[in-house]
């Protein structure tokens, strides 16, 4: 079975055979299920940006605990959806994935003082 199809079926029905171990799954495999991924991550983005997720490098156990905590905090995910999200996150952002490289941006305008700083 093609990996993309396997992941789609996993989302639809948790009784199907499990996907390959998360640490060996590639990000490309997961991104091929764009619609599901986008939908599930959209639930997370009700409260926080995607960047908050993309910088994590966690084990499946840690991802499961994180998603459980978020569901307890009101994230609108059913049981099957939460399990699918855990699998997807564990496959996409495992501990051995290279660190995310955060970008530098202009300081947000609401963090600027009203006037230029006086000399120290």
């Amino acid at each position: 079975m093609r990996p993309a199809l396997a992941l789609l079926l996993l989302v639809a029905c948790k009784d199907d055979p499990p996907p390959p171990p998360p640490s060996t799954a590639s990000v490309a495999t997961v991104t091929s299920t764009t619609a599901t991924r986008k939908d599930l991550l959209g639930r997370c983005q009700i409260c926080h940006s995607l960047a908050h997720i993309e910088q994590q490098r966690l084990t499946p156990t840690q991802w499961a605990a994180t998603v459980k905590k978020m569901v307890g905090w009101g994230a609108p995910l059913g049981v099957t959806e939460a399990e699918a999200l855990v699998d997807m996150l564990a496959a996409s952002y495992p501990p051995d994935l290279a660190d995310a490289w955060p970008r530098r941006v202009p300081t947000p305008s609401d963090a600027l003082p009203e006037a230029p700083e006086p000399p120290p």
């Binding site: 940006s49 908050h52 966690l58 994180t66 994230a75 955060p102 530098r104 609401d110 600027l112 009203e114």
Partner: protein
């Protein structure tokens, strides 16, 4: 091309605005809620400019109307302080380091969840405001009140998400350096940094520096809820790295721990053979006694410290090391404070990645 006076004005105004907006940059960890890190090179100076100061938020930044903003103080008559009343009260200024509990979390191994801060979730500013004890003196806090419960105007997006509520022991609230601060580095505190008023608790970890102050309540008990009963707790004694820690061994974090950070040379820099100046900042919950620098991890050279201005502020250090041959060199810095606490080789691993303070290391390449 000839510009009209209007076009010239528009162009120069745009340039001036643009240059200000782009003059200072932060490392974006998460745009929502706002979590931005200070670039490492900023830590070669004592005061962190507000424009370069890290931002930490649990929830979306609240909208605040300064005219309508009120600080509710339970036990006070009348029970609310407006900003104009607060600004008219006697004020004092304290220079102090604000550091996020999770600064350095990105260096914890095994990895832990949370914002993956490296070295820049910290900054040193002057904070001006009203002593909290001057406000509490008006309430007649009784001896049965052991804690001060503090909350801000920020709200979680979803109703099931717990609000951010903290408490500090009343003794710390009554300390002369604990402020309801309205000014940061000489200007009103910007909204992203918790304006118009935030709590300032010098020497204590940033989770107690509650932003967008809304309510303070003297209480016989510690705060309830996730962010005090579960969050921001540190193991004592610590467990094995990666292992869960039983709840009874997790205690509320209070003070900062001793730490130094190298600003220059930067990690990955290429330096010529010869003398090399190592610069950075050090801080703790009390005054810094010394900072040492090493290029072999064995022999340590005492760095020169800038004169102290506040026991709670940054101490800038500088040391010259001699780079003798080509190759990779690891430069490390370790601080010792007046209590005798020394920066450790390894940080205490904990499930939330708090208070990382391992000896700081940068690796450079020395070339002919």
């Amino acid at each position: 091309m000839i510009l009209s006076r209007r076009a010239l004005f528009a162009a120069t105004t745009a340039f001036a605005w643009g240059s200000r907006a782009w003059a200072h940059q932060l490392i974006e960890r998460s745009p929502r809620p706002q979590n931005y890190e200070t670039p490492i090179e900023v830590f070669s100076q004592r005061i962190t400019p507000t424009e370069s100061f890290y931002i930490r938020s649990h929830f979306d930044t609240p909208t605040i109307d300064l005219e309508k903003w009120r600080l509710t103080v339970d036990g006070l008559e009348p029970g609310q302080l407006s900003l104009s009343v607060l600004l008219q009260m006697p004020h004092t200024t304290v220079e102090a380091v604000l550091q996020c509990a999770g600064n350095g979390r990105g260096m914890m191994r095994p990895r832990v969840p949370g914002v993956q801060w490296m070295r820049g979730a910290m900054g040193n500013a002057t904070w001006r405001g009203v002593r909290l004890r001057d406000i509490l003196a008006r309430t007649g806090v009784g001896p049965e009140m052991k804690h001060l419960v503090v909350s801000g105007y920020d709200r979680p997006t979803l109703p099931a998400t717990p609000p951010f509520v903290r408490s500090i022991p009343i003794a710390r609230a009554l300390d002369a350096n604990t402020l309801v601060a309205t000014h940061m580095n000489g200007h009103p505190i910007p909204l992203a940094h918790g304006g118009p008023a935030r709590l300032v608790v010098p020497g204590w970890v940033g989770d107690d520096w509650v932003k967008w102050l809304e309510r303070i309540t003297p209480s016989p008990e510690e705060a309830k809820g996730f962010f005090f009963e579960k969050g921001y707790r540190f193991p004592d004694p610590p467990g094995a790295p990666g292992e869960p820690v039983p709840p009874e061994r997790m205690h509320p974090m209070t003070t900062l721990n001793v730490k130094s950070v190298i600003a220059r040379p930067r990690d990955g820099a290429v330096e010529p053979i010869g003398p090399c100046t190592v610069t950075g900042v050090a801080f703790s919950n009390t005054a810094i006694k010394m900072v040492e620098v090493s290029i072999d991890g064995t022999t340590w050279k005492r760095a020169k410290l800038e004169s102290a201005t506040s026991p709670y502020g940054f101490r800038v250090f500088e040391a010259e090391v001699k780079l003798k041959k080509p190759g990779r060199v690891r430069i490390s810095a370790r601080a010792t404070d007046e209590s005798g606490a020394v920066q450790p080789v390894d940080a205490v691993w904990n499930p939330s990645g708090y208070l990382h303070n391992a000896i700081d290391l940068v690796e450079i390449e020395v070339r002919q």
